[in-house]
Symmetry: C2
Subunit: 221 residues, 2 copies
């Protein structure tokens, strides 16, 4: 199990609202193009580093997501010449991530038109799995994302439900900021997000065609 990719990441970029049923469950508007936000390195939580913290006064939601590790510099990609195949070739691999979100704080920020950095950026708010190779995930749209809380299934959906493909995500991002080798891109969460409380046992994993990827397993409590 290797976590070197975490050290090498320059930035952690997260796509919002990329699964329709998740957009509906939070009564959000469907975006016409991908938008994204940054999570700080200080929010990374690696296995055995302890539990996810629930800061006082916050309602913390889990969002299980497929993370892509970028393999080369991507800058001002031309969507006509940069193909969906090129997008997959631009990745060095994958990981499983949980984009923990202080939902009540985020709702307040949204109402006030303020940045999402605080609700998305608390310490421990980005549990990350070990590195997953492209041999283990040959098709990033055929990955089942799973998350349970105290043994109860909360999230379980295929990545083929993504609204914006990796090709579209990387094209849009690269038109705004240079994506660098090592950067990590979280691709959005399927439906089923919900609150956790201190002491909850959270388990998450990715599977392909019914087989769990051992490197993807996250166990937090």
């Amino acid at each position: 199990m290797s976590f070197n990719y975490v050290k090498q990441a320059g930035k952690f970029l997260c796509i919002g609202r990329n699964y329709l049923a998740h957009i509906k469950e939070l009564n959000n508007a469907k975006p016409s193009e991908p938008f994204f936000f940054l999570k700080p390195r200080s929010s990374v939580l690696l296995p055995k580093q302890g539990p996810v913290l629930v800061p006082q006064g916050t309602i913390v939601h889990h969002e299980v997501e497929l993370a892509c590790v970028i393999g080369k510099t991507l800058k001002n990609l031309d969507p006509t010449s940069f193909t969906p195949k090129d997008a997959l070739e631009a990745l060095s691999g994958y990981a499983l991530a949980i984009d923990m979100s202080a939902r009540n704080v985020q709702d307040e920020m949204k109402k006030k038109g303020l940045p999402w950095t605080i609700p998305k950026g608390f310490d421990t708010f980005m549990p990350l799995s070990a590195f997953i190779t492209k041999e283990q995930i040959t098709d990033p749209y055929n990955v089942e994302l799973n998350l349970t809380v105290n043994g109860e299934t909360r999230q379980k959906d295929l990545t083929n439900l993504m609204i914006f493909s990796l090709h579209r995500i990387l094209t849009t991002m690269s038109s705004i900021m240079t994506i660098e080798e090592g950067d990590v891109v979280l691709t959005g969460t399927p439906k089923g997000v919900g609150p956790i409380v201190a002491g909850d046992k959270i388990e998450a994993w990715a599977s392909v065609d019914g087989k769990i990827i051992p490197e993807s397993i996250l166990e937090l409590d």
Copy 2:
């Protein structure tokens, strides 16, 4: 002139709305406590790396700001025992920064309740000066921030107009995320923000008691 601090920075944190006259010029609400956002490393623009880019369809505003370089880990600071003097001692030095902002995109994001990452995060959107020592800035509240466009004064105000002190900023930030040695904190912009267009000559500098700090000088065109 040293720029090593830029390489060593883990994250770039920016305070919003920290000068009253700037809040008023944009018709924003005064915050009751500090809020902040992240800029990516890919937005850094060092001297002689070229001009600030004005992406198609955007209205780009300059925001000159005093940046603080953090000298030690700050985590869950207790505002009763962490003193204003401790705050200054927690810094290793300073820099001058311009927080370039795609204002029309930011206005749209605010209206929609979306993150500020895109309007704040374009490549070249964070010009940074050389490192400024604590001997050169003995009092961070007695620094005049200056910015001219094509020789015309646009921003010129003292940092003593800050609403939230460094003590307050660091206390709040540290209650959300661990501030690490090397992190860079931009402390907000005074009034006078306004648009730039491609080809504009932008000059910015900091002065103390009428004397320009040579390390602070930014010349962009």
